[in-house]
Assembly symmetry: C4
Homo-oligomer: 359 residues x 4
């Protein structure tokens, strides 16, 4: 099969992956209500294009926190790429650099952040990587890993704030999948005190992490800080007041608290709360160029994709990731053209209309 869209990459990945690992990537918390909602919510939003604008072929590039991206589609941080393909994060990093977009490297990667950025550097002169961080109660470790990310050339910190505890994935419970297989480890965790070096079980997801930790991060690093997972409008406003540089509107792909709203449904409320004071990104359910443009219309500066990257990686390593990215790029350009827009900035709120649920 030669996949013609992102969904077909998932089908291909499913064939190639160990079912337990497929479930790890595909699954989400509990009843997976949010997982489904993320995708289905896009279908209830219609695009009403403008016509006859004599627009040029669209330019997709955007600038985010000082970094240029060739398109408004980033890589969301996802853990354990080695489960999908032996080239692991090296392949994803090369594909992102090749595509000229931003990879948000996950703290729980199976390749060390230094190796990820180095690999990207082989492909592009000036690749953009951001580093996703779970703030650890052990501030020493947290500072050390931030320093590693800085030294490796990461240009922003994406701080995940929706994880005061680990999400409950019942697929993993049924599969008794709770740690990486032998021979794989979290290469960024080698310095964590105690326990087996590099074990995912060493990561602490603690409810004690608070705004004070964000303030502290603000002090110790000059990197821009992106908050990933603020969905409540009151929190979005607090984040802006605390000097956060951007928000990634995310429900963790449905993997943390089940029955969270779809991100695309929550985006307008967040956008209203922040009043344009910081750029917004969105992930969750983006599978089509039309989804990208809907998110832009509702207030996002760019979107990020998680599972689609993994499907590409599982299907065909770096080449698969490249094809997924280029599929989404082509669909986004196509959608912009059909909407009469010459680029992301031309996308206005009125291009989207909510339609009734039997759509």
């Amino acid at each position: 099969m030669d996949p013609v869209n992102v969904r077909e990459f998932e089908a291909l990945a499913r064939e190639r992956l160990d079912p337990v690992h497929y479930d790890y990537f595909a699954g989400a918390a509990q009843d997976e209500v949010t997982l489904r909602a993320n995708e289905s919510a896009f279908a209830r939003l219609a695009l009403v294009p403008r016509i006859l604008r004599g627009a040029a072929a669209p330019a997709l590039d955007v600038t985010l926190l000082g970094a240029d991206a060739s398109m408004p589609i980033l890589m969301s941080p996802t853990a354990f790429h080695r489960l999908a393909h032996p080239d692991a994060e090296r392949a994803t990093a090369r594909a992102a650099a090749e595509a000229g977009t931003i990879m948000i490297a996950a703290m729980l990667s199976t390749v060390a952040i230094e190796d990820i950025t180095a690999e990207a550097g082989k492909v592009a002169a000036d690749p953009s990587l951001w580093f996703q961080l779970y703030v650890q109660p052990d501030l020493g470790f947290t500072e050390a890993i931030v320093r590693r990310a800085e030294a490796a050339g990461c240009r922003a910190l994406v701080v995940t704030v929706d994880s005061p505890a680990l999400g409950r994935h019942e697929r993993n419970d049924r599969n008794a999948f709770h740690d990486l297989p032998d021979g794989m480890r979290c290469e960024n965790l080698r310095e964590l005190r105690g326990g087996e070096p590099g074990s995912v079980r060493q990561v602490v997801l603690s409810p004690e992490i608070s705004w004070r930790h964000i303030d502290w991060l603000r002090e110790i690093t000059p990197l821009p800080i992106v908050l990933k997972g603020a969905l409540h409008p009151l929190d979005a406003r607090l984040a802006v007041e605390r000097g956060v540089d951007a928000l990634l509107v995310s429900n963790h792909g449905g993997r943390q608290l089940d029955t969270m709203p779809a991100t695309i449904d929550q985006l307008p409320l967040v956008a209203e709360a922040v009043e344009g004071r910081v750029p917004l990104l969105l992930d969750g359910g983006v599978r089509r160029g039309t989804d990208v443009v809907k998110a832009l219309a509702l207030g996002a500066s760019a979107v990020a994709v998680g599972r689609p990257i993994l499907w590409g990686l599982a299907a065909d390593g770096e080449a698969g990731v490249t094809r997924v990215l280029e599929t989404l790029r082509a669909e986004t350009a196509h959608t912009l053209t059909l909407c009469g827009c010459d680029g992301p900035r031309a996308v206005t709120r009125d291009l989207v209309r909510e339609v009734r649920c039997c759509h």
Copy 2:
């Protein structure tokens, strides 16, 4: 199979129960519209968590009508536990006492109320049991059974008010299941005048029961009175005016009048009517910790579960009930943590958002 959630306990119970008895527990009135609505209504409510609150691990305990419960999850009254397991209400009582929560013992139990409270007392020093009552036109019998409940140590009366007649369960009609099998009886009914002692057929569900009977109960007993089944806002207000101590918002699990609204859909209207003057409880469709937190957000002080207890009992006796309770406790704690709440009282209305029906 090792159940990882409440729904899987139902599957297990279904395997173990006589199909006729499974139908008795699982079924509801007529087309079972309300039964399904109770569950599906929760899926249309999304949770929008707060972040970075630096909250401590949540404490789940609540105080209800002067009784402490270790979590905001009570046992709803359900009849005929012996159909589910030979240990019957003894097993459920022990599991409730062990879990430190409140069992609402049903008037139509297959173990006498004295034996239920005694059994609970073997496990916990000071177990909390409330007694569910169908007021009988025979006030002598009604007073006698109230006295038995008082003497047995029950700490509140839960008066069912949605049953001026018996619900029509067509599953039971098809199964010709209309009374307990030989060897089982309603142990609390032995004193009812006339008829076979302890037969369920002796219970009178009469439309003549009125607010005057509530006033009369108020006079004859010092126990707090909880009204179970007031769904109409006007009735909720009347109940408060009559001095009722709490309301259990319930549609009898869909077993009385079919096409009643889901309780979680009705809860906000009841909460608005009572304006916080009495605590509200809710049962109906609670199968997840997220359901518990949604009910708290919409105005409940605690929820109660009925069928899940029976699934646990049928699956594995006391141990099964314990596992069901601990599963719900863990999910509720987990949900509170993920919502940034350190306990039930931290749950606010804005954590819940209604989402469109294709969720």
Copy 3:
């Protein structure tokens, strides 16, 4: 199978009927959207009962246009009962009289109106029958048939006004079913001029019928006039102004114009338009006692049922019809009891609440 509800009578009827005749009764116009809507619309209305009213067992009787009925459930006019059972309208008439309710005898009956009323008279001293009329452009014939109905003892005329043309039933087209089988005829049409005596093809459904014909009827007969099929609020108001005595809110069971709204969805708009100046009846999709009570709450004085009567007739002749009527009666009484109402007049608008569509 021993049917426990109306839907099970349909299943039984389906087994017993010639499939072509089953399709004739069960089917409706074109895509049968309205047929399904009539039933599904009830499920989106919830009943919110009142409690503790100390109500007596409900009395179901109503008085409609001076006629007493033992319950607020009438027989809608339906054609060709002989297709369902050899006893035909004789059986239905006896069952209606026995049940003490009003049969609206159809003009297209396979038993003459005189024989229908006579048959009812054998069972009840003072049976109530109304006569359903398609006004014919041939006013001579129309007057003649009105005179026959009067003489036979019918107490009201139910004038069908939604049929300026014959509905298109594609089931009948596919079955090539366009007239009665040999040996059956429309016994009321024997006097129609021209053509084969008693052929259904002689009936003229003409767009020329207008309010003037209603005025003319008003002049020629002292019988109360019920308009069947006025759904538009403007027409309901016109009807009241023209002196019509009652409205039967109906979409002809979905058999005329497909995609008409469900009658229960249209009832509140009609009720608002007529402001209580004439009684309203409703047919369409009533299959449960809860449906009856919902219609009462939304403004109907009574409902009428069509297909359920035919399922009973097909299943077991007069006895089947009786059982269908008694099932609906029992369910309605049960619903009233559970709603705290002592009769149809106690049913108020606030007992019904619209719920979201995933109910």
Copy 4:
């Protein structure tokens, strides 16, 4: 099978067509959300008929841009009729002329426009044909083809404005169907400069086409200009201001940008924007006479049908097209009669009511 409605013609066509060609006609862009929405949106609109108007049998004829049509149902432009039947556009043209309605001949026809109009002229003295145009950046070619359409007797230009790029049909991608089979060509493209004469690949769908091109068309031709594909109310208003003569509200049958709204859902917004200053047409999902009347009620002067014509053509050539047109005509007349309307102009906005989505 003898089709009794349009949908059954599709089933018949599917049997007769090469599956690759069936997919080309039946398919639409990407996930085909808009394709399904076009049809399902009609089901959520109910018709509330008027009664007793004494209307004459309805006259269906309408006048559009000076051209008479015997019914408010036109042929939408569709490409490549030869794929459906060897008689190709000759058959469709004869059927349209015979039916007395307007054929909008597609620029991408497999019969030259001169031959199409000539064929129509053999059947009707004064057939009405309009010509659908994709404005080409090569204005010389564009002017030449407009001149050919004028000379051939076309009476209006229908300018497609929703196609700044070719829609992505994944069915065609999977079938590797990207050009006409050998022996078929686009007969109107023979004069396009460069490339193989008459190849569909020569058509340029360019985002550079703008309102200036419409102004230019306005100058070079006296033919009325109909804009096909303006869905955004702002564009509808711009079109009126630019002097466009009519709008065909269309989403290209879902074949361009997926997730556009259903046309019937967008029609009221367009109607509100143009305030009656130009006539509106609609295509997309019209399969029933009730659909036609709903479009009329919401502001259309007439509808156009695309795929149904192709199903008729594939099923039985000219005779099949004729049967499809006559089926829709009969259904429309029937619907008007049942709504109490004596023609399209009697259809008012209040005949349509939006119903809840579980309809």
